[in-house]
């Protein structure tokens, strides 16, 4: 994960985007490869999504984004496509946790989502803990993560953290 990013395109979705829509069940029984899964990312909600999305894009959802199944293939498919963050009014619990474990930033801020329109660009600053709508020149706070989760996110996820530090993020160093 980078400390600071400016989104390319934003892709808008509505409320209750389930993991069945993010990656239909049938694909998770074919492969564990992020690039292959990426070809079907968001297929249930927008069959053309994988062709439209580009590296550096950000997904914007409504309420309860990622509800349903615990499949980590859902955030994995988005990572495989080069999606840099998911922002939503609210997230379902397991998706939220899975995304952090894969180093995919998930940002919950209802007002920021409501203010966004097609064509907007966002600046996301994880160190400062805020996001800025460039058109409105308006900033919104990102709810701070517990320090060990922020460290995990900065290391690009759970497995990457372990490879780098030889311990799990919640285990004490040394």
């Amino acid at each position: 994960m980078v400390d600071r990013l400016v989104s390319r395109s934003l892709h808008f979705f509505g409320d209750n985007i389930s993991t069945d829509l993010i990656i239909p069940g049938k694909y998770k029984f074919k492969t564990t490869d992020a690039k292959e899964l990426a070809q079907h990312a968001m297929e249930g909600a927008d069959p053309e999504f994988s062709k439209k999305a580009r590296e550096g894009d950000v997904i914007v959802g409504g309420e309860n984004f990622g509800c349903g199944s615990s499949r980590e293939q859902a955030p994995l498919a988005l990572v495989g496509l080069g999606i840099k963050a998911v922002m939503a009014k609210s997230f379902a619990r397991i998706f939220y946790r899975n995304a952090l474990n894969l180093g995919l930033p998930v940002i919950e801020n209802r007002q920021a989502v409501e203010d966004l329109v097609e064509g907007d660009r966002l600046e996301i600053d994880f160190r400062k803990g805020n996001i800025t709508n460039i058109r409105l020149n308006k900033s919104y706070p990102i709810k701070p993560l517990p320090p060990f989760l922020l460290e995990m996110l900065e290391a690009d996820g759970l497995v990457a953290f372990y490879k780098k530090y030889g311990r799990l993020p919640w285990q004490k160093a040394g």
Partner: protein, 415 residues
């Protein structure tokens, strides 16, 4: 200040006093994964560079979601799981043995006070036995494979107090559908959902498993019921020193919500959200192509018994496919010995091998464009059981069976 059941369990598991909002690192008693999530967890475990799981007797694997395999690609993933199980000395329940959430309680891996993790969102089912159990992704599961522990935020608890007595043909499934409709699909996000009151006390563990199973459909982190005599009746014994887990009278809840369910009618969750719930009597005439009695929510012997009683001497409606998928081999055998399977076959039902069936749109009854199913499963999202334009209505075993007989979604009280 007293504690909720979940605060008590997470205090024990983290060796410290756990209060809602705390982040704790808890010992995990059992961890499970299945063929939809296990391969990714095994890959993550391998990426850790780890050789052996922390305790091979506490890791359980299941091949149940798409089983037997329907593709070469999946057979390769099944083989990956079998190879890992063999190498690590892990118990793997293979093709036809049943659904993970049936087998975990049935085979004795769940006890009151346990912390159980699972790479499946419906792991919240085991709260019916007084365990804290929750669904996790593959990376978290791999971390448990490695260390036997995981971090949790101790959840606030919503307590539903369910008063009254359920009427005839009104089932635990109707109770949980009703509560999801009232609460909304995200009304309990991140919360523990405790089910209490006379309606829950009157339920067998089978019914409580159905109720806790769907806590996640209102966003819940886990579902839970207090331990009582019924719990130990199901478990067959009470081990020395084994506690009853009950919330203290002065425990702090985020909310306490009471309902009188004496007049509750059979409910149905209409397409395509689980919280789109209405009484069966109010949905008008909905013709069906398929009726499904199966899944971790509702395919136990008591569910098959309800179905067998309803179909006795009758026939499934012309043009309806009635799929019955017992939750486990034991359930199948019990139902066979009690004559339920014979009765269902005589009525025209198809009996499929134990497993998850068509619940998540993988095999054994995938819906074509525009087709309609009524099902005892737990999700009706767009595309869940097949084509994007197919539709799934969720209901109790009695409603599903009554509908299979008439060809339209039917209130079982009128059959």
């Amino acid at each position: 200040m007293g504690q909720t059941i979940v605060e008590k369990i997470l205090s024990k598991a983290s060796h410290d006093k756990a209060e809602a909002g705390d982040i704790v690192v808890a010992d995990v008693d059992y961890i499970m994964a299945h063929d939809g999530t296990g391969p990714l967890a095994i890959e993550a475990f391998r990426q850790f560079g780890a050789k052996k799981v922390w305790d091979n007797k506490r890791v359980i694997l299941f091949i149940d979601h798409d089983s037997p395999s329907d593709s070469e690609e999946l057979s390769t993933l099944h083989e990956l799981m079998r190879g890992f199980a063999k190498e690590q000395g892990i118990r793997l329940y293979d093709v036809g043995q049943g659904v993970c959430h049936q087998l975990m309680p049935e085979q004795g891996y769940v006890r009151p006070g346990y912390v159980v993790g699972g790479a499946d969102s419906h792991t919240c089912t085991y709260g019916a036995l007084g365990a804290f159990s929750t669904g996790l992704g593959s990376s978290d599961v791999a971390a448990i494979f490695l260390s036997g522990k995981l971090w949790f935020r101790v959840p606030e608890t919503i307590r539903f107090v369910l008063n009254g007595q359920l009427g005839p043909m009104v089932a635990p499934k109707d109770v949980i559908l009703y509560l999801i409709g009232e609460t909304g699909a995200d009304g309990a996000t991140y919360k523990s959902v405790e089910f209490a009151g006379p309606v829950v006390e009157d339920m067998t563990v089978d019914g409580r498993l159905t109720v806790c199973n769907m806590a996640v459909e209102m966003g819940g982190k886990n579902g839970i019921t207090a331990t009582d005599e019924e719990t130990f009746k199901f478990l067959g014994d009470r081990r020395p020193g084994e506690d009853y887990y009950v919330s203290d009278a002065d425990a702090a809840y985020s909310s306490v919500i009471e309902y009188d369910l004496s007049r509750l009618e059979p409910q149905v969750a209409c397409p395509s959200m689980v919280d789109n719930v209405k009484p069966v009597a109010e949905i008008g005439k909905v013709e069906i192509d398929q009726a499904v009695l199966g899944s971790c929510t509702n395919a136990r012997v008591s569910d098959l018994e309800v179905a067998a009683h309803l179909v006795k001497g009758r026939k499934v409606a012309e043009g309806v496919r009635f799929l019955v998928i017992p939750a486990s081999q034991k359930v199948y055998l019990d139902a066979l010995r009690k004559g339920y399977i014979e009765t269902l076959l005589e009525a025209g039902a198809s009996i499929c091998n134990p497993g998850c069936g068509p619940c998540c749109g993988l095999h054994q009854g995938i819906l074509a464009a525009g087709e309609v199913a009524v099902s005892t499963t737990n999700r009706n999202f767009v595309g869940r059981m097949g084509h994007r334009t197919s539709m799934v209505y969720l209901a109790s075993p009695a409603t599903v069976t009554a509908s299979a007989l008439t060809g339209v979604i039917t209130d079982p009280r009128g059959v």
